[in-house]
Subunit: 192 residues, 2 copies
DNA sequence: CTATTTCATTGACTTTTGTCAATACTATTT
DNA sequence: AAATAGTATTGACAAAAGTCAATGAAATAG
């Protein structure tokens, strides 16, 4: 249990056996079935979820009732409504499972105590958020300056596993497109 | 000198006088005139810049040669090509001054030593990047799910100072629009 | 195994946004 | 003061993306 979590942690910052046990005391496992919610808009986000297995999505609902996927989460990724988690304000995103999933939860209090007690945990957190920031900035840059073909090709190159495991209309939503438009982009690309 | 920098730092994490002096030794002041580069695409980004005064923009150039503004930086903000700074790879962004600016630079080595030496600096860094992440996520959500009118109204509400100080075509670029389209969005809004 | 929901594609049409060109106004430079 | 560069707006038209509807295929549930 928590194999992938500690594998990731140790890859960034090696922990002693004792430190692992110390961290482990703050973790809670959670399983989700496909389509189950981890978080619903309006609720307070009380934990950060590390994904051991499965796939999730974080999304908001626009005025026409369409899902707008803000983030996918696959094995080894972290998913959360960080805004709600940090501020204690109601969540603006929904998070649910695209596939049956196994999660490792870190509650808010656990998170704060770990930050206090274990400098390596703060470093781990800092590195994670920095990586997430850089990735999101690349995504934003690509939205602002690339053609749809380039963006989709880029998505495939970056996340081949997501392309395999997730329906295309969700990728369209992640890209800010309708499913029809993504279908046409693909058609155009395969004709080349 | 460095007033705003330490004001911000202390607001997040109070420093003792000694700690302030310790941090100060790692800082370098820098002035930029309007239109001067802080960083050019292809160079290695060797420092993070805290803005004491003035306005800057970080942008990439798309295939048609247009600026795509990925970030504005005003007083109290931090600006950098974090990807290049962290990895040591060539920068993908240009950063230049929209107005004459006064900066506080933290070089890469200074950054790393401070992280080692002063836990409060790591916490400061973590809080900064977390805030930047949340802000960028909101921007992305707004791009994915809101109309242009809503996005522009939101921008005005969030950054009234930028609207005052920066030409509209730059705001258009930041929003991923042509200047003409933003002009028409504004026209539509004022007619209401 | 069958029925049903989900998914991807395609076509016809509409709406949105971009492109190009012209104009006018402002700020800056010489 | 005149010349220049930068800025915002508007119009006519083109291109891109969305909408709606129909179809068929694949996945899932009963």
């Amino acid at each position: 249990m928590y194999e992938l979590f500690f594998q990731n942690f140790n890859k960034k910052i090696p922990l002693t056996r004792e430190e692992e046990l110390q961290v482990k005391r703050y973790l809670t496992p959670k399983k989700l079935r496909k389509k189950q919610y981890l978080l619903q808009e309006g609720d307070i986000c009380k934990s950060i979820a590390f994904i051991e297995k499965g796939a999730l999505k974080a999304y908001s609902i626009d005025e026409s009732g369409n899902e707008r996927i803000i983030q996918f989460g696959m094995e080894g990724w972290v998913i959360s409504d960080l805004y709600s988690f940090i501020t204690g304000e109601p969540a603006t995103y929904n998070i649910d499972a695209i596939e049956d999933a196994e999660l490792v939860l870190i509650g808010k209090q656990a998170h704060e105590e770990l930050l206090q007690q274990l400098p390596k945990y703060e470093t781990f957190t800092r590195l994670n958020i920095t990586g997430a920031y850089i990735a999101m900035q690349k995504r934003l840059t690509s939205i602002l300056s690339s053609s749809l073909e380039e963006r989709y090709a880029n998505f495939i190159a970056l996340y081949p596993d997501i392309v395999q495991r997730v329906p295309q209309h969700m990728i369209a939503s992640y890209m800010g497109l309708t499913p029809e438009t993504l279908s046409r982009v693909r058609q155009k690309m395969t004709r080349k």
